[in-house]
């Protein structure tokens, strides 16, 4: 594989950038693989990469019904954080933060990781108490957390509404300085390029139509490009999880819902951090191009359509304007939607299943992007070793039977009830 560097850039400038190697190949599927990963999104690509890198398993195929990075890894708001209170989530996410910091070097691909800090605003004394508790829990798990008072928040985001007669006055906030953003497409492309170079077949435009299971063991996958045999199969298909589960006669604690995001026209740099509204569901950051990147609530009903509906967008932006009044002056550039695998306790599932050789990675709700490296790393471990790693032991499928739910916010699929 050609290494990307300033020297290769200069060298290729002389040939008008016509001689760059392709970043990944377009192979036809082989008859058989050791591992098939279904879903060429961030999690699937990362899983294949760590299977090859950490476990030396390279006879791997990624099967993607569309194009790689066309699903939620290309539709998110690029936020990376580990500001969780529960141990399972905190330790898993903080492990991921470490992978994020090293990712550009590790992949030889600039993912533009920008640890600009995230601020969760508080609008009451009770919320300040809750944030202080969450911050302390984070610090006990080795995650940086700073409780900011009103003046400290005002110094960092003076454009927020600090006037006297507001419905939700800003009391302060909880900040994780090491949180930030990354270029989402680059994450998918970086993992794809490295996985491909280590021998992984990335097979696009290949839809799974069924599974071959014999005596409780997976033996292959039926696809729109023919049957492919496999010793092990991993599902990384986010919002499409229930469609594949139905083919396997499985019913999961997952509902598929629609989440929208939007960006404004680009403006000059004014927002240094990722900021979330504490009295509703709205978050905002500014992209390197200057667009305000915004998101909020689910549309609120089961949906597989990857486009949103206006009432939710209006509701979300109303909250945005309550937080940042200047947003009302901006024109909207683009809105889009993706489909989320909402789990019943709001936490993900990375586990084995009752079918031998079939592994499940789902339930990311709308926190999937930041989990990309840690999810891929632990899922690769689970597949390669046929047992969960201690980092994803809490993300078991049977916790809904044992009662070991990880109810970080106690919301599950009905997030709008908060």
């Amino acid at each position: 594989m050609q290494k990307y560097s300033v020297f290769s850039l200069i060298k290729n400038a002389f040939s008008d950038h016509q001689n760059w190697e392709v970043a990944w190949k377009d192979p036809t599927p082989k008859k058989e693989y050791d591992v098939i990963i279904i879903g060429g999104g961030g999690h699937g690509l990362a899983t294949a990469y760590y299977l090859a890198k950490e476990h030396n398993i390279t006879n791997v195929a990624i099967i993607e019904k569309g194009w790689i990075g066309g699903g939620n890894v290309g539709r998110n708001t690029t936020i990376i954080r580990s500001n969780y209170m529960h141990d399972d989530n905190a330790l898993f996410s903080e492990f991921g933060m470490d992978l994020w910091r090293k990712m550009s070097q590790d992949l030889n691909y600039n993912v533009m990781f920008s640890p600009r800090g995230i601020i969760n605003l508080a609008h009451s004394d009770a919320q300040m108490n809750a944030y202080s508790r969450r911050g302390n829990s984070m610090r006990l798990n080795g995650i940086d957390a700073v409780l900011l008072n009103r003046e400290e928040v005002q110094k960092r985001i003076p454009m927020a509404d600090f006037s006297d007669n507001v419905r939700f006055p800003i009391f302060g906030g909880l900040m994780q300085p090491s949180a930030g953003t990354a270029r989402h497409d680059a994450v998918a492309w970086g993992y794809a390029r490295q996985a491909d170079s280590m021998g992984v077949d990335i097979i696009q435009n290949c839809e799974v139509t069924g599974f071959d299971v014999t005596n409780g063991k997976i033996i292959g996958v039926r696809t729109s490009r023919g049957d492919i045999k496999a010793k092990k199969v991993g599902l990384c298909v986010a919002g499409s999880t229930n469609i594949l589960a139905e083919m396997l006669n499985m019913t999961l604690p997952i509902e598929t819902h629609l989440l929208q995001a939007c960006v404004s026209e680009p403006v000059k740099p004014l927002l240094d951090h990722v900021v979330t509204f504490g009295a509703g569901h709205f978050y905002c950051s500014q992209s390197d191009k200057g667009e305000m990147v915004m998101g909020g609530d689910l549309d609120g009903y089961n949906s597989y359509s990857q486009r949103g509906n206006l009432p939710t967008l209006q509701h979300v932006l109303t909250e945005g304007i309550a937080m940042f009044p200047f947003l009302s002056k901006l024109k909207m550039l683009r809105t889009w939607g993706g489909i989320m695998d909402m789990s019943m306790d709001g936490s993900p599932i990375i586990d084995k299943t009752h079918i031998d050789g079939l592994y499940l990675n789902c339930g990311w709700c709308y926190g999937g992007f930041k989990a990309t490296p840690a999810s891929g790393w632990t899922f690769a471990h689970t597949i390669a070793q046929d047992r969960v790693h201690e980092l994803n032991a809490g993300y078991s499928l049977n916790r809904f039977n044992t009662g070991d739910l990880i109810d970080e916010k106690g919301l599950g699929t009905k997030t709008w009830i908060s």
Binding site: T251, I254, E255, P311, M344, K414
Partner: protein, 89 residues
């Protein structure tokens, strides 16, 4: 914007409704002995199909009645709506 036909009030915009989830899920019979597993499955497991989905909506800003809506989850087309006690075979 979804437009939902309330069997009690007529055609109204989605803003008047709250979503109540899958209407085909059946609560186990009251006071009947069931296994923990059956209860967990009732509480947590959902088919969440792509395509036709029978679901509950609450006309919260209208007549405050619960209704059943048959809707396509990939196109958002609404085929038919029912009163809450209809279709209970």
């Amino acid at each position: 914007m979804l437009y939902i036909f309330c069997p009690h009030c007529g055609l109204r915009s989605q803003n008047e409704f709250a979503y109540g989830g899958d209407a085909t899920v059946k609560r186990p019979e009251l006071n009947k002995e069931i296994s923990d597993k059956d209860w967990d499955n009732f509480v947590y497991l959902r088919k969440s199909p792509r395509g036709k989905h029978l679901e509950l909506w609450h006309h919260i800003s209208g007549c405050r009645q619960w209704i059943k809506v048959e809707r396509d989850t990939s196109t958002h087309e609404i085929f038919k709506t029912y009163k809450a006690d209809e279709l209970t075979e």
